[in-house]
Symmetry: D2
């Protein structure tokens, strides 16, 4: 049975749920999953519905046409997406491969609604790992002087592979403001600290200096402001006085992989909406 | 504004959500919170809606009359409850007071939608703590010989205080099958292990013998089968080889209090539905 | 059997452990528990030994006299303390009582190596709770104008009760630099965020604004620099998009109580050493 | 500098630590790490010392010769091992590859004191993954009828690769009592439940039926009694009413990988001692 995911947000008003569910019911859809959230602070309403269609399915474009008048009536930001169509995601990485290895394995074992058509890196270290999965490895080196042309090359790769999503899986270069803006809401980064603590470089070393007893990782959408984008997911792991910065790095790898995988999974199941600087995650 | 919580379960069918939300919309309700779950294994549908009414509120009984035809049409198990009306809960306890102390403090600070009209115990140890909260302490001792008359006394206390809920906050006596059945779905027990591990007596000692590296606690509804009732909530805490059974007992107290408080909170916010031997918790 | 806790730190050198354990062995002590840590970054050595004495116990002062020459030889910072002697701690609090309630209950049930001779507050809200434990409640109001005389009153209370430790259990006033310095290493504060995130006022509101997915609490020693003191313990609890700042406050209470209780327990079992801006916690 | 790990257990007596540390000191060793545990229940003493030798290192056999008299004096079970020598571990697996993938990646990135000379499987599914790491893949199919000859083949593989450790990384066959006994203390299994809950087959399905709110994984040494061996490590992940058995399987994979990796790491750093049916883990 075809399945779709409807994702919407709009100013809160009485009757939204009744209107939307009536439309789906009349057109033969069956609601498989439904979540909603009413932000009382901003009076904004958020909803995700996954529905199946037993017969008479008009297709994704058909559903969009049916839904457009309702969306206009309520002033909605919205998408309808074929639930079976995987997101196409390019993974970018520098030298640490744990997140990449984790994503590639999950992708290959079918655990994510995702296709990974290519990997981009500014180093060559992880080329063999990528090769073992039989997908292209694009080496795009970056220096202070070549940043602009590197991003041109990167844009070409993204265009070539027609991607929905870019995953920065421990990619240690900062994207330019222009690229960040152009890809707004479509780039997920894993930062190796519990944001907003320890922004920027060497967060585990910062954590060591401060003597924290727990370290963490944060998956967030990339915005021009470094490590300030909307947070999707965070998790932590205990630290203690015996751990050197190198121990923290190693302990953090596990939580980085886990947090990034969750964020990517939710994004690729259309479970995330932006709410200003925050996210609504219908996990 | 008056608020109500509608809780329902029924065989899954197309149109339930549309029908329910249309009714609420037509009668002037605004949905504040809505959660649903479709159990694909049993084809059973579960829903919780908290709604407010700006004007023309018919009251709880009025809403029940309005909703009854829909409920009948779909074969629903359902309740509608005034969200502002606290649940009345008698707490039962033996000698360990940490859960009782936690519940009394949360109740007094307004953190739970709960009234505690009285405490029952088979010992006198915790009478001063209860007295400091200014509520009656019923001492109902139990021996193998006096179990029947103790339960008669207990039933009298429950009747006197018109309770919705009984909380066994480390009450170390087993309720009879008859009382368990009569109070089905209205008695929450905290068991001091991670069920189904270590049922019955002295679970921390059992855990010690087995050498587990994590211990836990389980809040569940009481049924005649000991420690087999539907689980509401569980949580854990790490153990290590240095911990004696007494250390496990102490470490467990914290997690017991926490797990029981969560289960009681969810029950008193009408967030829990039974699904055979399992629970649906719209937390 | 009498028991003592030896706590020491000194520059790392070969032979420290052999020398210390030989001394204890020769004087009839039995090591019950021993932990050590060699900070390779600073070349500083830290050790805690709990030992019992079957016969010929020279008493705490006797042990100090025996140990002094070794301590001098290695340039140690050190203490020897009778393990059975509880720490005397005054608890300070403002209006939120969850941490105080938790500490009082743990103290009364014997779970902490602690005596609480008195509670100090700048408000009267928690006087009844304190009264139910039968200990003095000192009301010391503080305004911008009366801060100096309030601290004079506070110093008098601490002197009167001969305290080893001050616990700021959600005390919402900042201690002066002078008092912080005078009590260095003897004041534990619970801060209601995961430091270094969200220092200062209203951390849960800051956390809400930033949209974090986990909130936390931090117990630390107080220093003149606000919320910058050495961290003893931290813990976290998950948040999600549905939680208002008030929900975060409530969810945080639990973790605050837990974190503070752990820090106090470790301090009162002589398990904590300062290592510059960090702590060594032999938990 | 050469480093060694001394691991010992013996009946508790006064003077063990003084004797052992004096020996090390006299022979020029520097203690880098030391942990001890006195089991008051069984009066058994456990110790781990990692020490370095600046000059005059007699080598592993030399240290063993030096230590033997002390060991005999106190009736110790003991080992001394060159800390730089990696453990040789064969990994066995069936069809689920997440634990294998995780171990191979950690091994290759140098995070474990481990060599993996070969992988054994009763299926061919994971041969390509193993091949990408350039190590032999031994296919040893097992049926009810061929179990004995399969174990003969397995013993040959283990002998060929001269292994210290066998890791059952979701290997779905039960080892015979004979092999379990012969390899006692040298086979680590990951069981996909929080033992002792849900022993045997399909633990996630058992967990689903019972309606637990948390699932877990357990790494333990293999003994002839199925899923009854000494537990090394456990961890958990939350479940809820929406999760099907398949969802539990997927959620569990992450925790299985993590728990197994920790157990293998500790084993390969000589951090684990058996204490009857339990383990002492100097993590």
């Amino acid at each position: 049975m075809p399945e779709y995911v409807l994702l919407l947000s709009c100013p809160d008003r009485r009757g939204i749920v009744a209107t939307v569910t009536a439309l789906l019911f009349e057109r033969g859809a069956n609601i498989e999953e439904s979540q909603q959230f009413d932000d009382v602070g901003t009076d904004q309403f958020f909803m995700r519905i996954r529905y199946s269609v037993q017969e008479g399915d008009p297709g994704a474009d058909g559903w969009r046409a049916l839904f457009a008048p309702v969306a206009q009536q309520y002033g909605m930001d919205w998408t309808i997406r074929d639930a079976a169509r995987p997101y196409r995601a390019v993974v970018m990485v520098s030298r640490f491969g744990h997140c990449l290895n984790d994503l590639l394995f999950r992708w290959r074992s079918g655990a994510l609604n995702l296709d990974i058509p290519a990997v981009v890196s500014n180093h060559r270290d992880l080329e063999p790992l990528v090769a073992s999965y039989g997908i292209p490895f694009h080496h795009v080196p970056v220096t202070a002087d070549t940043k602009a042309e590197a991003e041109t090359a990167l844009r070409a790769v993204l265009a070539e592979h027609d991607v929905d999503l870019v995953v920065l899986a421990r990619y240690m270069q900062v994207l330019s403001d222009g690229l960040s803006s152009d890809l707004a809401g479509r780039v997920i980064n894993i930062h190796h600290s519990f944001l907003p603590s320890f922004k920027g470089a060497k967060p585990y070393h910062q954590a060591f200096e401060r003597g924290v007893k727990i370290i963490g990782a944060t998956a967030h959408y990339v915005t021009p402001a470094l490590d300030e984008g909307p947070i999707i997911e965070q998790d932590v792991v205990r630290a203690d006085h015996r751990m050197t910065p190198e121990d923290l790095v190693r302990a953090g790898e596990e939580v980085e992989s886990r947090v990034l995988a969750r964020a990517v999974r939710w994004h690729c199941e259309s479970r995330i909406l932006l709410n200003g600087r925050r996210t609504v995650v219908f996990s």
